[in-house]
Amino acid sequence: MTKPRSSTARRDAAPRTMSGAAVILEALKDQGVEVIFGYPGGAVLPIYDEIFKQNAIRHILVRHEQAAVHAAEGYARSTGKVGCVLVTSGPGATNAVTGLTDALMDSIPLVCLTGQVPTHLIGNDAFQEADTTGITRPCTKHNYLVKQPEKLAEVMHEAFYVAAHGRPGPVVVDLPKDILFAECPYEGPENVEPKAYRPQVKGDSAAIERAVELIAKAKRPIFYGGGGLINAGPNASKMFTDLVRKVGAPATLTLMGLGAFPASDKRFLGMLGMHGTYEANMSMYECDVMVCIGARFDDRVTGRLDAFSPNSTKIHIDIDPSSINKNVAVDLPIIGDAASILEDMLKVWKSKGYRSNDKPLADWWGKIEAWRSKNCLAYSQTSQIIKPQHAIRRLFEKTQGMDCYITTEVGQHQMWAAQYYNFDEPNRWMTSGGLGTMGYGFPAAMGVQIAHPDALVVDISGEASFMMNMQELSTMIQYKLPVKAFIINNQWMGMVRQWQELIHGARYSESYSEALPDFVKLAEAFGGVGLRATALDELDDVIDEMIATPHPVLVDVCVTKDENCFPMIPSGAAHFEMLLGPNDHAEKPTSERGMVLV
């Protein structure tokens, strides 16, 4: 992803030496890093000295290390570059763990530098010591503890290589303080490649030919794309779109994949899965050939596994061999980069002279249109009380055509955002999919805004999630980042309340958002702008004012308190057992098997 800047001029010279801290800054520059999200502390002060001495790399001082990691995620997801984080030892590193886990689950390329006590104190329970490599081993793609000065430059470059290549992910480099002071040789990134790590990029050509033939002959095909399409770069989304259109098939996307296929295209069936559309899930159930690209048959997507798309031939394209046959046995796996494989598929489609299979596809589309006519995302905005769906729909309509990026928190508002805010391009939508981290969206929006200073960046938020990382408003004021938090305030942890209502006998245990702050005053206290919409006829004006305000804005959108998010496949249910609305529920209580699932 990030192209290392070449420094050929220096190649033949003997390696320069400098302090470890200087090596780190040099390596960051050579890796093309422009911005680093961080928070200082004793163990990393030598690096802060080097930051102080230069202007090439911008440091953004966050207010909590978790937010630094989410900000770097937002930066990475909206640019396709590697995000970069710097935190101190001990609590700095442990605060970063949630963000690292989030990035691992969603395959986001990050390099996180953590301070560490000096090598001779490691293992002594020294002040602010934590076993950072031990703690982060299961929540990073890889991590390093640098104990030898001569290894530092190599490790730095390798960290960026590992983060960005293959299935992307977060990499931690743990840096004992004595290494930061030690004289270290510096080498550029040209010669550094991990010895063992060589992910496969190109797909097997015989398998690709077979896949294209299956697709060309399919009577009821469906394309099911995920975050891997986004990670493979904007070109992958273009080729995916091209292929779907050539085949004439329907396409659905996961929560992570939204934007990889234009939502405005009539072939788009919407998101699939637990809160996906009826037509997407029914098409998955009844298709005869399923083409999964860069998605992983996640439990939110498949519903009950033994009833998942029982009669289809499944093609699975993924860069990570461990995604193949993990949850669902597939018929034709192809390992490699989505962009490379899509390019090859398009070539085969052309060279073999395949045509869209018009006649059977017309029947297939007939079926799909019948499902579509259920209009599963319909809602009724009848009173003056704002419906959450409507608030998001209006936000979408009013921002259409603008240079706009959306992040979200986690809960009902997140699902409504996925349903009612439509994306025609990749890299415009940032949400915590795998880990489902409340508190992700606000700092992520900050990272997006850093990368795209002139764009409109909106965090579609819930009132409970917002309070998990609201301290970042202070960062936004400091750096004049005009991020907007569009808070869907239903005064409940709505998604929790919904599960309690539908599955736990309406025992609303500890899910009410008691003692909420006044979000308008809160914004003002930080030095931002607060707006509120309490009735339908205020909504549009408030959205307009939010868009027009060149400062950080918190918008308190007071919505219906007890709205549920539909459609819904309850845990443990199959695609065809979808609940379409509130009246659907009574007849189908959740199975015992479903109760234990999350």
Binding site: T133, G134, R137, P138, K141, H142, N143, L145, K147, V162, G166, R167, N191, P194, K195, A196, Y197, R198, P199, Q200, L305, D306, D320, P321, S322, I324, N325, K326, N327, V328, A329
Partner: protein, 191 residues
């Protein structure tokens, strides 16, 4: 969650890794974190110059789980190569045990006789004890220990399984290129 009822199989897997700090923790963490079984795990450096260790893991699971285990191992950054010896080829596997038995009288003589038929060597003896060294496949060692337990008080130390494919193919050759050449060598992609 399994979608097919599949039978549990035991597999011996050989893994070539870069011998760097934390690599064993990574492998073991993978097994515990994802709920896979480890029946036996052995590790030692096999290539000093290129700093590579070979790990032999005996594990069990459904074919889908075994496939996952191999894929998960392969994607660890310091892993060079993974071979499923059970699936790929006939192989030989051995472990070694040191078995200390404390007994006396007739039972002591019987222990010695059995050790002889198992080709175990006595490495140490006192008037009331022996330490036997025994090499063989897991079944043979289990059988020997069972017999010893019937004849006295027993303490056991076992190495766990090491294994290698039969025949002339070198699945994971010890490469001894010098550093300058290694830099220009393009390694095979991890399978």
């Amino acid at each position: 969650m399994t979608i097919r009822e599949e039978e549990i199989q035991r597999h011996t897997i050989a893994v070539l890794v870069s011998n760097e700090p934390g690599v064993l923790a990574r492998v073991i963490g993978l097994f515990s974190g994802r709920g896979y079984n480890i029946e036996s795990l052995t590790v030692s450096e096999v290539d000093e110059i290129n700093v590579r260790s070979r790990i032999t893991i005996v594990t069990s699971g459904t074919p889908m789980v075994i496939e996952q285990i191999k894929a998960q191992l392969s994607r660890l950054v310091p892993v060079f190569d993974v071979h499923d010896l059970t699936l790929e080829s006939p192989h030989v596997s051995r472990e070694m045990a040191l078995v200390k038995i404390r007994n006396d009288g007739e039972q002591r003589i019987e222990a010695l006789r059995i050790a002889d038929t198992f080709r175990a060597r006595a490495l140490d003896s006192t008037l009331e004890s022996f330490v036997f060294e025994l090499t063989g496949d897991t079944g043979k060692i289990d059988a020997f220990i069972d017999l010893m337990v019937a004849l006295g008080e027993v303490e056991v130390s076992r190495t766990g399984v090491v294994a290698i494919a039969r025949g002339h193919d070198l699945d994971m050759p010890v490469v001894r290129l010098n550093k300058a050449r290694r830099r220009h060598k393009k390694a095979e992609p991890v399978k």
